[in-house]
Amino acid sequence: MTQQQAAIEATGLPYRTTSDRPLAVRIGIHTSNFFRTKPLGALGVVLILFCISVALLSPVIQRYDPEQVFSRPNPLYDPELAAQALRDPTVRLLHPPEKFIQGGIIDAQEPSSTHWLGTDKAGRDLYARIVWGARLSLLVGIGAALIAVSSGLILGTISAYFGGLVDLIIQRFTDALLAFPGLILLLLIVQVVDNPNKYWITLALGILGISQVIRIVRSAVLSTRQEQYVLAAQVVGNSDARIMMRHILPNIMAPTIVIFTISIGAYILAEASLAFIGFGDPTAISWGKMVNEGRQLLPAKPLMSLFAGGAITLTVLGFNLAGDALRDVLDPRLRGRGGRAGF
């Protein structure tokens, strides 16, 4: 038994300091503090969790296959006339042709108890498609943020730590990428492959976001590099790699986590814009594409555009709120830097 544990035993209380409590209790305390002090951030976390569970559970809660085509019976079909027409073909000439078609009509249906949000123009259940759309948005948003943050972290750290020519080259590349009009660069990268699928779009968005991450990481590393403990580590002969991993990385995690969370929202918006103008993954179910398809049903049936756009807004709202709260808690210095990576 160590001295510290002996001291704790002597008090007779179950726990002395916060850090002695079991992990679950500590997480519970931090969570309840977060919810109390940052209600909006908590709302963001709830929205994110909701979106993630919808995405994970989409096969369970879908109600219908999102690709299944539903038709509705032809309301004008007149079985009596059709029966007459079989005996006497001239009947067909006296009545409009719709009256003889028994098959179903495929079009955008209004919401009903069978189709909660109605169907799209191709007769597919809108509720199922919105539920499945969560998968693409989350995949692209989180995937692109992971790519951008991990490569931006490496490049930014190298740029700031070594300085000199390396820094100069990386910085000029960053400047050039930042000066590119965002959506146009995205279009160019996406178009490099013949049939851009969702993974390629994720990669393109990640590449686009690197320069933003490099900037933030670089300035964080520049201030950390001057700290006494880093200089001390250098003096006693640690390798550059070890100093970066052990002494610098842990100290720039706060701004990194913040930029990671906030940029997810921006990537989701960017993917939606791309799909909206018709350059998304043609086979994927995308909310942005649905807003555009629904636009053709305006003004009579606005629900498709409204629901798909509302889903994007709520998801992005969740990541923005959570990111804002995280920033206030972890790194107040970043306040005021945008949540829209160049869009």
Partner: protein, 323 residues
């Protein structure tokens, strides 16, 4: 100061060269080149594969894209340095002329967006800060958070829905008149994307201004101003605003930098023949010189606006000058 300005301006030369190089190679690795697409589309039925290939080769020679990439790159750089940005494959019109024809539409849209963003965000940001934690503040902040999260194209679609559903006015999506050609019809069309874009960028500016205002209002010199009995109006406008606006000006500068690139999404949605929809078109059609020229013009503008913002920042805030 003079030397600092010159040094900052010179740093931009390699940046512009990098942009030109990046866009050259980006457009050259695009699959399915313009000529093959065009000839495949126009192919008369009788032609054999060899005849088609001969045709493609002839047109490529004509356009000067049969040479190896390295040679074309040098060629392109040399022409760019002399200010010749090439001509469109499709129309044989110079790319700069095409840009100039799209520019009025994009500028009108951007300036209207900008005006709406500023005229709403600045008063709202200030009110929200000086009435901190009142219900006005909560409502305005909630609105701003929502406006940042909502995709612009969706907000524009919803606005369009309102106008069409209740027949508020007719929108001329065919002729796209400019403000000085037909002011009334032009406003009817451009106001929707301008409001949708203005709300989004205004919300960002508003949130930044609010947090800056709150920080400034807690400082000692503001307390001094209160205690010497100045009116609230004069404290806010004369004392607090001056300092709170500095970071906001940077964001406004960055917004100015996007004036030329336009908003591809809104131009697509409202069928506006501006710079954005032209470049979208050029990318789809693989009209490489147009893409290269447009990107180069836009990016150069952005680079120099950023330089201007940096210098302005130094002028406004002497603490960071020359650092």
């Amino acid at each position: 100061m003079g030397r600092y300005v010159i040094r900052r301006a010179l740093i931009n030369i390699p940046v512009i060269w990098l942009i030109a190089t990046l866009v050259f190679f980006a457009t050259n690795v695009l699959p399915g080149d313009f000529v093959a697409r065009r000839i495949a589309a126009q192919n008369p039925t009788g032609n054999t594969q060899e005849q088609i290939e001969a045709q493609i080769a002839a047109v490529k020679r004509d356009l000067g894209i049969d040479k190896p990439v390295a040679e074309r790159y040098l060629d392109y750089m040399w022409k760019t340095v002399r200010g010749d940005l090439g001509e469109s494959y499709r129309t044989r019109e110079s790319a700069v002329a095409g840009f100039r024809r799209g520019l009025p539409y994009t500028l009108q849209l951007s300036l209207m967006t900008f005006a709406i963003a500023l005229s709403t965000s600045i008063p709202i940001g200030i009110i929200s800060a000086i009435r901190q934690d009142s219900w006005v503040d909560y409502v305005l902040r909630m609105f701003a958070i929502l406006a940042v999260a909502a995709p612009g194209f969706w907000v524009a679609t919803v606005l369009l829905l309102f106008v069409v559903r209740w027949q508020l006015w007719n929108i001329d999506l065919v002729n796209q008149p400019l403000l000085w050609e037909d002011p009334v019809n032009s406003l009817k069309l451009f106001i929707l994307p301008a409001v949708a874009g203005g709300i989004a960028s205004g919300a960002g500016i508003m949130r930044l201004l609010r947090s800056q205002m709150l920080e400034v209002l807690r400082q000692d010199y503001i307390r001094t101003a209160w205690s010497k009995g100045l009116r609230e109006r004069s404290i806010i406008v004369r004392h607090a605003m001056k300092n709170a606006m500095i970071p906001v000006l940077t964001v406004i500068g960055l917004t100015i930098a996007t004036l030329l690139s336009g908003n591809v999404v809104f131009e697509f949605l409202f069928n506006i023949p501006g710079v954005g929809s032209r470049i979208l078109d050029a990318i789809t059609q693989r009209d490489v010189p147009v893409v290269q020229a447009f990107v180069l013009i836009i990016a150069t503008f952005v680079v120099f606006v950023n330089l201007g913002v940096d210098l302005l920042y130094g002028l406004l805030d002497p603490r960071i000058r020359f650092s």
